[in-house]
Each structure stands twice: as C-alpha cells, then as structure tokens.
Symmetry: C2
DNA sequence: CCAGTTCGCTACATTCGATGCATCAATACA
DNA sequence: TGTATTGATGCATCGAATGTAGCGAACTGG
C-alpha cells in the first residue's frame, strides 16, 4: 500500500493510526464525552499536543478517512466526459462515495460507531453536520465550476444538498433501525434513485429504470 | 406583559434580557467568535457564571426565543386532504416552514442577526442545522404514518432529508454570497422547486410550472 | 414585624478542548 | 559529514463550561 514512503512519513502514519485505534477503543468503552484527548494520547503513547498535530479537533479522529471521499467526488467531477451531463456526473460521484464507504467505514463498523456516538452527544452531532456542510460546499462548488452555464451556485448547492441530505437521512434511518450493512447500502441506493431518477437523461450503469416512482 | 410576576422573577428576566441585549450588540460589532462570554457578562454587569445559569451554552443566547416550529409541518401532514398525495403535502409543509422561519426573523431582529452570524461562523451553522435535523426526523416519521403503503420509513427519510438538505444548502449558499433577505427566500423556493418539481402531481398554489427543468 | 426558607447571583477553583511557541531529536538531503 | 527539514514534545495560555460554597435579597407563614 505505502511501500515507497520515507521512514519519516511511515512513522507519522503509524502514530496517526495509533491515535485512531486508541480513540475508537476508548469511545466504544466509555462513550464520546467521557473520553478526554489526554486519555487518547496517553493510550497511543504520544503527547496531547501531538493529537492536535494530526487532527484539527477531537471529533476529527472519527472522520479520519472522510476527506478521501470528498476527493473521490471531486475527481469524478474533474474527470468527467465531455458530453456528460451534470446529473450523470453527480450520480457517478455519489455512487463512488457510497462504494467507498461500503468497503471502508461500513465494513469496519466505524460508521455505526459514529452514529451511535453522535446520537448520545449533541456536540459531536453538531460537528458532524458542520463537516457535512463543508463537504457539500466543496462538491457543489466544483459542480458549478464544471457546468457554469447550466448550474448557478444556488442550484448546484441545492442539488448537492438534496442528494447528500437524502442519502444521509436514509443511511441514518437504516442504521438507526439496526439494518445490516447490506440493508444500509440498499437504503443509500434507494435514496439516490428517489432524488435522481427524474433528473438523469441516460444511465451510466445497469439499474432498474422502473423503480422510479 | 408580565405584571403578575414577583419581583424576584422580574429581576431574573431583566438580567436575562440584559445578557441577550449585550450579546446582540457585541456580536453585531465584532462577530460571533471574537466575543467571549466574559465580555457579554461584563457588558451586562453580571458575573460570567450567571451567563451559564441562564443559557446552556454561548450560542443559546441567540436562540433565546426561537422554537423550531415543527408543529407547523406536522399539522400540515395531519390535516391533509383525503385525496392529497404526499408530494403535495410535503411541499406545503416545507413552504409553511420557510414562511414561518422568515416571519420569525422579521418579528425580532434577533433571528435576522442569527442568520447573518451563521453565515460567518461554522459553529452556528451547525447549531441551526442541528435543529433542522431534529425536525427532519419527526416530519419523516409523520409522513410515513400518513402514507404507510406508499412510503416506507427509508423512503420517507430520504424524501424529507432531500428536501431539507436542498433548502438548507441553498439558503446557506445564498447567505454566504451575501444575498438580500429576498434573495435568500428566492433561493429557498428554488431549492424546493428543484427537488419537488418532478414529484408533484398538481399544484396547491400559484407557481410557475415551467421553472421545472 | 420577624424568623425561616427560597433562590438568584457571586467568587473561586477546576476541567477540558484548542492554540502558540520554543525546542529537541530523528530523518532526509546535498 | 554537515545542514535543513520536520515530527514530536513541554509549557504556557485562552476560552467554554461545571461544581461548590456562600452572601443577600426576596418570598413565606406566623
């Protein structure tokens, strides 16, 4: 995976991962609020200061890989086909993010832990929303840049916000219901279909067209 | 207004109002982040501790009178017409909430300030959105109850999440752009149109049908 | 009018998240 | 090897938020 990295960067990644692991274990045991950053750092055998050198804030340790997903979406937009309309691009970007979260967060149970913790900690919940907003903003901005004459900034924001909002709400509902990872994935796809079905001109992959209500 | 209150409670209300006024003035001058609770308390001539006796957190001084009117949306759903489909009901509920949130703004300048500050402070953004998220859950549940055979829980969550997400994102985008209140309101309606246009069967009020892309 | 109680407020101490700064030591590089 | 880069550290500090003890003004019943 990371064979060509220098020793220094490998060490850095190792402490970062140690912090993540320590935090996850502690959060699972004691919940979010009852774990201090000092505890996490101590468990990872680094200083408290080092924690904030790797993560902007306490809750960011739970979103270690979330930034990767934004990059994925941005790349899909950047590498779009010349004749591709924005509904298809947005659809592909969304599906790419879903696929990524499938073999990342969802499989490892990190997403479920996040939801569980957020449900019991309003502070964390607010920060999660903040993060989602920032992500939406970036994607919407990129989409507007890509289709400046078809999407004004407001329309792009509404479009992206609608998709992300629908997928998030469906995912949360499925997770709250205790669905299996497959069930969660199905909920995600259902949400995408619901929002996008009326807007796409042609499909980029095999999908049941009749599921559009 | 409060003639039959005891002297003690009147005093309490007075200090509370002094804290709100001081906070509003300071926020207007210096923005949200650059004002400390100690400053607010000092300007209101009370101790810092007293501030937290009246408000759970710094942001709550801005939400002093703001109760999210979830009831409005729920009532629209409850009092739906027998032949009304869920797209129309949801549309009406959303419009009702938009109209109300804006009326509240005009009534007390506090809400207007809140919106303005939220544009520049991610913390406040998240707090506002948190309130919307709580409403989202209830509305989705009510919508599912109202149309049990047309909307499963996941579908209802996705639908409502999509609408709220689109409206929120468009609103924030308009605010970030520095739009006038009228422009913000237009962005809200644009977002509703974008998400709902393909789903409504008949309109409940005067609206440009051709705006549906 | 007076004791006893309630309660809003204060001062002080403390915890915790987060940041700035100077510094050390290991790595990378010429 | 010598130098520069950089991850990690300790320390100081700020601001939000909470616990505690206690004062004094406002209510209560007699």
């Amino acid at each position: 995976m990371n064979e060509s990295l220098g020793l220094r960067e490998r060490k850095k990644l190792r402490t970062r991962q140690a912090l993540i692991d320590a935090a996850v274990h502690l959060f699972e045991d004691k919940g979010y609020e009852d774990v201090t950053v000092a505890e996490i750092a101590e468990a990872a055998e680094v200083s408290t200061r080092t924690f904030f050198l790797h993560f902007q804030a306490k809750e960011d340790v739970l979103f270690a890989d979330a930034d990767v997903r934004i990059d994925l979406a941005l790349r899909v937009i950047a590498e779009r086909g010349p004749a591709e309309g924005y509904p298809d691009v947005l659809l592909r970007a969304t599906e790419r993010m879903i696929a990524n979260s499938w073999d990342g967060d969802l499989a490892s149970g990190l997403a479920a832990l996040r939801v569980r913790l957020a449900a019991s900690s309003p502070v964390l919940q607010a920060r999660v929303l903040q993060r989602y907003l920032a992500a939406q903003d970036e994607v919407a901005g990129a989409l507007h840049e890509a289709y400046p004459d078809q999407l004004d900034p407001i329309g792009a924001a509404a479009l992206v916000g609608g998709v992300i909002g629908a997928v998030s709400a469906a995912t949360l509902a499925a997770l709250a219901r205790g669905d299996s990872p497959e069930g969660v994935r199905r909920a995600m796809r259902q949400a995408v279909d619901l929002v996008m079905c009326c807007r796409r001109q042609h499909m980029s992959g095999p999908r049941d067209e009749s599921s559009c209500t």
